[in-house]
């Protein structure tokens, strides 16, 4: 088709605000599971996670040498620990 054969696109008039139609699609109604059900399938996973964490009990070291990045928690201190020893294991 040549450009000359083409007629320009048309434009709708300004739309009129109208009540919203009932939509279709979307998910089904959310049906929350009971805490017993959730505990049933999440409990073993959490137990396993706890075991893994216990096995790799936290170690503190000043350098990153020899640690796996997935197992590291980097804590940057704003001050020297020696000068302000308020950190307590109970907290």
């Amino acid at each position: 088709m040549n450009n000359a054969d083409r007629l320009p696109l048309l434009l709708f008039q300004e739309p009129v605000p109208t009540p919203k139609a009932r939509g279709f699609g979307g998910g089904s109604k959310f049906n929350p599971r009971s805490s017993e059900e959730v505990a049933g399938y999440l409990g073993p996973k959490l137990t396993r996670l706890e075991q893994v964490l216990e096995a790799e009990r936290i170690r503190v070291q000043a350098t990153g040498t020899g640690i796996e990045p997935e197992m590291a928690l980097v804590i940057e201190l704003a001050t020297d620990v020696g000068q302000d020893p308020v950190v307590s294991r109970d907290q």
Partner: protein
């Protein structure tokens, strides 16, 4: 001298072709705005109008028929459309269907901004020549929208929109959000 033609397919090629088509559509929107009496869309709607126009002329055509023949032995109804869509997307794009109207085909642009729970009705008056005559007519509605993003959700959007056809004294397309 180039004396060979090689055919490729794939998303890299499709991206280049779609970008070129998008540029042509962008120029077309600019020419609409150049008309002094037109209530043309502001440039802020260019992105979403290009989204709609890029796919409006697309069709599955023969490839869709073939896949439908294969899938209908396994699944039915809306599932077939979903399956074909995974192979063909929106289908083969036909730029001529959206770059302009013909004497037998009118393409209209509607646009606007909705907030939650709002809807817009777009009136489409039928040409008087068609009034009272029986015959095959086709109406294709393409909806595109842009939504604020919800970065913490997998579907990544805060809103969705849909269209429905209203039969009143005229056809109207209603967009809801």
């Amino acid at each position: 001298m180039l004396d060979k033609t090689l055919w490729f397919r794939g998303t890299s090629n499709a991206t280049a072709l779609a970008t070129r088509f998008g540029a042509r559509l962008f120029e077309m929107l600019g020419s609409l705005r150049a008309k002094p009496d037109a209530p043309a869309p502001s440039p802020r709607y260019d992105t979403v109008l290009l989204k709609a126009l890029l796919i409006h002329g697309a069709a599955w055509a023969e490839a869709g028929d073939r896949l439908r023949g294969i899938f209908k032995q396994e699944v039915g109804g809306r599932k077939i459309k979903e399956f074909i869509g995974r192979f063909l997307g929106y289908g083969l794009v036909d730029p001529e269907r959206v770059l302009g109207c013909t004497e037998r085909r009118a393409t209209l642009l509607g646009f606007g901004t909705l907030t939650n729970g709002e809807a817009h009705a777009f009136a489409l008056p039928l040409p008087s020549d068609l009034s009272g005559k029986s015959g095959l007519r086709r109406l294709t509605v393409t909806l595109a929208w842009l939504t604020p993003v919800a970065a913490h959700q997998q579907r990544y959007r805060k809103a969705q929109s849909c269209t429905s056809l209203l039969r009143q004294s005229h056809y109207a397309t209603k967009l809801s959000r």
